[in-house]
Symmetry: C2
Subunit: 183 residues, 2 copies
């Protein structure tokens, strides 16, 4: 979840770039290649994940085996890739990190985190079984009852906010999509 370093060289021709506002009506400083003319943009990244829940209400969390936040608990989530939709990416990450058998549900939260240039999207998901097969990015995957969620040991604010809102909505029977700005 780190920010991207500034662009120093053109990824199309290898020349050193200059940083200036392009002469095309743009208003922002971009990395521009003086050799081949390509303008290089840097834009926010999407992180896609889900809230995997057993029919008895317990929620699946994964203990991170990677930085940042090694050893902290998270919902399965990761960077969205090319050639997939947001829900497909969410399913892929859940498979990679937990090996869980899920039925993907509806979009639950869309959270902007401009400080790190990210948008986090979480889906509801139903766990079809308790069988798990965590990947190399996960130390341990475990089911938590709502009262046992390790709030002080969660990896990211987007995870804690999504879990809070999920439990509130579940208690009140509310169905909504949460659009939140973490500024």
């Amino acid at each position: 979840m780190s920010f991207r370093p500034p662009i120093k060289f053109c990824n199309q021709c290898g020349a050193a770039v200059k940083h200036a506002v392009p002469n095309d009506g743009d208003t922002r400083i971009r990395a521009i290649c003086p050799a081949c003319g390509v303008v290089h943009y840097q834009n926010p990244l999407n992180v896609v994940g889900c809230i995997p829940v057993l029919d008895d209400g317990r929620i699946l969390l994964c203990k991170r085996n990677i930085e940042p936040r090694w050893g902290k608990w998270t919902l399965p989530a990761g960077f969205m890739e090319l050639d997939e939709t947001t829900s497909q990416g969410s399913a892929r990450e859940t498979d990679e990190e937990a090996g869980a058998d899920i039925e993907m549900g509806r979009l639950f939260s869309v959270i902007s985190v401009p400080r790190v240039g990210q948008v986090h999207l979480f889906y509801c998901a139903r766990l079809r079984s308790e069988t798990l097969n965590p990947g190399h990015e996960t130390i341990e995957a475990r089911f938590f009852e709502a009262k046992d969620i390790p709030w002080d040991e969660l990896a990211f604010r987007t995870v804690s906010i999504t879990l809070q809102r999920y439990l509130e909505d579940r208690a009140s029977g509310t169905v909504q999509v949460h659009n939140i700005d973490l500024v």
Copy 2:
């Protein structure tokens, strides 16, 4: 709205990259710098926009003065930038393309377009006045009654789907967030 060209050179040190699966548990081919070791990822981009509506129900559309789809009609929208939230980006694009005075509303649609590696997010927005000041990316900005929307002259499928769903929901009084995959 075009796809990104493959990475040929490292943007950190300028060396020619190789394309291979990194030796860190990854499963995808990435551009890897053999000189400095940096792995370069390419990920989907977000396009953020809104449905600007006057209190009398007319909808603001902009005629594009840029490629792709020059001369076609669109909702105000464009690539999300760093240092902004999805709704802030939507407001910025609406200002840049139409100079419209809006009150940003709720998230309306989240549409994955994996063919071009994009996610489009549209918000509802209330136009506070009919005053417009279109920017250089817009030939003309105009208010349309629902019956006059130029369906055959819209620039993008995400725009036509968002407008269709908006008009359906308005007719039925439904309030929902539409999560759609255009695959």
